[in-house]
């Protein structure tokens, strides 16, 4: 059988890859892609902990579902901001969106 550690190591790796994407990519959409990976890693952790540590309580699955909702909201707002910024400033590079940086 698969031990819990495999899932946890997998989730940690996925989270780290997502973090790299968020920190290193220039494009704003690519940063959002990285955030999606990180959220998924968290979800894998939640479900794995539910399955291995508390299979009688449904909390892990319920939390995972809430994260789906949060991820959807985040994507909706983030991509809208991206479209709006692109329309005004004709750029997608996060470093060049510096109107608030003085």
């Amino acid at each position: 059988m698969i031990p819990l550690s495999w899932y946890l190591i997998f989730a940690a790796a996925l989270f780290s890859i997502g973090l790299f994407g968020v920190l290193a990519r220039k494009n704003a959409v690519a940063i959002l892609l990285g955030v999606e990976l990180m959220l998924n890693a968290v979800n894998v952790n939640l479900v794995a902990f539910w399955r291995y540590r508390a299979p009688n309580m449904i909390a892990g699955q319920a939390f995972a579902i809430m994260i789906f909702a949060v991820a959807a909201a985040e994507v909706a707002v983030g991509l809208s901001l991206f479209i709006s910024i692109y329309r005004r400033r004709k750029t997608v590079v996060a470093n060049e969106i510096d109107l608030m940086k003085w």
Binding site: F68, A69, A72, A73, V75, A76, S80, I83, R87
Partner: protein
């Protein structure tokens, strides 16, 4: 239950392979005579002008956005519908209020004119 998921996994594998095989077979049967004119993009016979990936209306995006929100919320309702026999009146009401919020949301979007195709 794991048996069912095994079947689904096998089925998805087969489903990906089956349409691919005839395409590959046809690649061997078919003639291959490429020609620069033949491989041009077909746009009503005239030569293609400008780049394909031009900017499109954000309207398409807005409909996809409304869909995303609806889709996520509707998925929440499936376990509610399955557990219907075990629910108290409060539980059923909670689900109905959930749908009502969706309905109000749709009405807001409608009244603000967000659902118009312009």
């Amino acid at each position: 239950m794991p048996g069912d998921w095994l079947y689904i996994g096998l089925f998805l594998l087969i489903v990906a392979i089956f349409p691919g095989v005839p395409i590959l077979i046809a690649a061997f049967l078919a003639p291959r005579k490429p020609h620069p004119l033949k491989n041009q993009t077909y746009e009503c016979g005239i030569e293609t002008h400008g780049d394909t990936w031009v900017q499109f209306k954000a309207q398409y995006y807005i409909f996809a956005l409304v869909f995303l929100v609806f889709d996520v919320e509707l998925v929440f309702l499936f376990p509610w519908a399955v557990a219907f026999n075990q629910l108290s009146l409060f539980g059923v009401a909670a689900g109905v209020i959930f749908v009502l919020i969706l309905f109000v949301e749709l009405m807001i979007a409608w009244r603000k004119g967000l659902l118009e195709w312009v």
